[in-house]
Symmetry: C2
Subunit: 335 residues, 2 copies
């Protein structure tokens, strides 16, 4: 174990010490993250479940949805469940990157299914529903917080754990590109690499296994991006016909919108996806000057300033007309 | 100035100290990098020219080609020339990431245009043509080496210099994804961020100003990727017709091939670009298992194990048939 001082505010350090104490006294652990789990949640579960097991604890990991194929390289993920064993009460539930209880998708098996709830998250809007609330908005990923835990637990940190933490940090920062990245983020990653983590291997696992059909669909979608006259809004769509033509699945479009946000001059990117049930899923991304959560909220959806969305029960053409009108209104200079 | 020990082998440390000594005694500097300058070369020039100027030296930066628009955010780049003032002899020429003299594109104004040549590079195949050869194949980018120089020179390192070094490292490592990245790479970046460098700003400058036409062309190209039966080879093309339809320029396809290399199962990606002069530029990328430099060499080109290329004086159809046959041969099991 490497000794290092936790450079955080005193309230956080207090909750951190309580966390260590709760972990120390407990035997059975229930771990989960938000529904539609991502690299941060799954990477944290992978690393933390390994560490707790190494300490002789019993660990059950349950998520509302299965581990996406892209994360099947994560150590220990093969033990993750999508349904909790019924009737069990755990000593401790650790909620990883789950800003409110609903976001877990209701996987805690019974009301009061754990004696203590450690709520570990880096979202500032976390509702602090835990018995211990380890909330650090200065962390670029929950993976940074779990790294601190690993360093403080009485168990050697190894390469298998480093795989989970690297995945958490790399995916939740867009490969170290987001403004949330701090000097500390890079220092943690330096330590992960010192454990023997191979960057080439990680890169191949996370980024270099794109299904052919998804790549074809991306091409079809990018070819037809439209822009407003000012070039500040870019939008594009994936229809059911396009999915069929590409042989792609509905959930393979996750990252598409970021391409259009990266076009010169674009302040707001909008992605329309026609769903199999006929509804239209609308995603918004902003570079930060425009608050797209207000836009999504006005249409009945929600999100954050830079990333928001809404699902509309309209045809694609109707949804596009409605959303584009709303965007132009929100961009118009206030009178 | 932050003091830190250079953890390199003794031969390198010796050349490093000679470099400092040569810089100390000289007044006029000529800086250049390889032709078609990239983020590493230009970022190094930006940072090092600022530091030398701060030391009261006279600095002339000349490259064989102008600074691409994407790098116009680099401090001091507006002073970079594409033609050297004739007849001038400089005290020192610093060749940045220029593995052999030819790769500079012949910008040193006259034979023997500098009394000393500092050859600073991280390529193992560097021909050591300098009077001082500062070659460090363990550096993920020449930017890491220039960072060491900045730390050792008697001039405060500031945010403007950090912009160049970050650009050098981030672009030459595919945003920290290549196997060349070491713990040290991330520690250097942590120090850059501590100088006040804003990751969001850097990201927007480097990655989020893609011309619309280039995005459209990418879509058109990705829609038509073809694969061999085994799925191990993926190839695609950009024709003059496609360039016209997208309104894009020939030099806007630089990164396209990496998309195809990232497709699941692909070991070799091949990109064919029909040039305005009728020739066909062929690029190869490999995940490392197949040596594409051998392939390119057999066709009359060159490169490295993972990235190579050749320009063929044939029609696109002829070039494709020839290259694909050569690839299949190189992939066939040896008898």
């Amino acid at each position: 174990m490497v000794e290092q001082k936790l450079e955080k505010d005193p309230a956080y350090v207090r909750e951190f010490e309580r966390t260590l104490d709760v972990i120390d006294r407990a035997q059975t652990f229930f771990l989960t993250t938000h529904l539609n789990p991502d690299g941060d949640g799954l990477g944290c579960e992978s690393a933390l479940s390994l560490a707790l097991t190494c300490l002789g604890k019993t660990v059950t990991v349950v998520n509302a949805h299965p581990v996406p194929a892209v994360y099947h390289f994560l150590p220990n993920q093969e033990t993750f469940l999508t349904q909790a064993p019924p009737g069990v009460i755990y000593d401790v539930a650790i909620m990883l990157e789950c800003p409110d209880e609903q976001r877990s998708g209701g996987v805690l098996p019974i009301p009061g299914g754990a004696r203590e709830i450690i709520n570990l998250d880096h979202h500032v809007f976390n509702t602090r529903y835990g018995t211990v609330n380890l909330i650090d908005p200065t962390a670029a990923a929950a993976g940074e917080q779990v790294w601190d835990l690993l360093m403080a637990l009485d168990c050697p940190v190894d390469k298998a754990m480093a795989i989970g933490i690297y995945t958490a940090i790399a995916t939740d920062t867009g490969q170290f590109k987001y403004p949330s990245v701090t000097p500390r983020t890079h220092r943690v990653v330096a330590q992960l690499l010192e454990l023997g983590l191979e960057v080439g291997f990680m890169n191949e696992q996370i980024y270099e296994r794109v299904p052919r059909a998804a790549m074809r669909l991306l091409g079809m979608a990018l070819e037809k991006v439209a822009y407003n006259a000012a070039g500040t809004v870019g939008w594009f769509a994936v229809t059911q016909d396009m999915l069929r033509a590409a042989g792609a699945a509905e959930n393979q479009t996750e990252n598409f919108i970021n391409y259009v946000r990266s076009v010169e001059g674009v302040q707001v990117a909008i992605f329309f996806q026609e769903m199999s049930d006929g509804r239209v899923k609308v995603s918004f991304r902003s570079r930060g000057r425009v608050d797209v959560s207000a836009l999504a909220y006005a249409l009945g959806g929600g999100g954050h300033k830079r990333a928001a969305g809404v699902t509309l029960t309209q045809s694609l053409a109707e949804a596009q007309a409605r959303v584009l009108a709303a965007v132009e209104t929100s961009l118009a200079p206030k009178s």
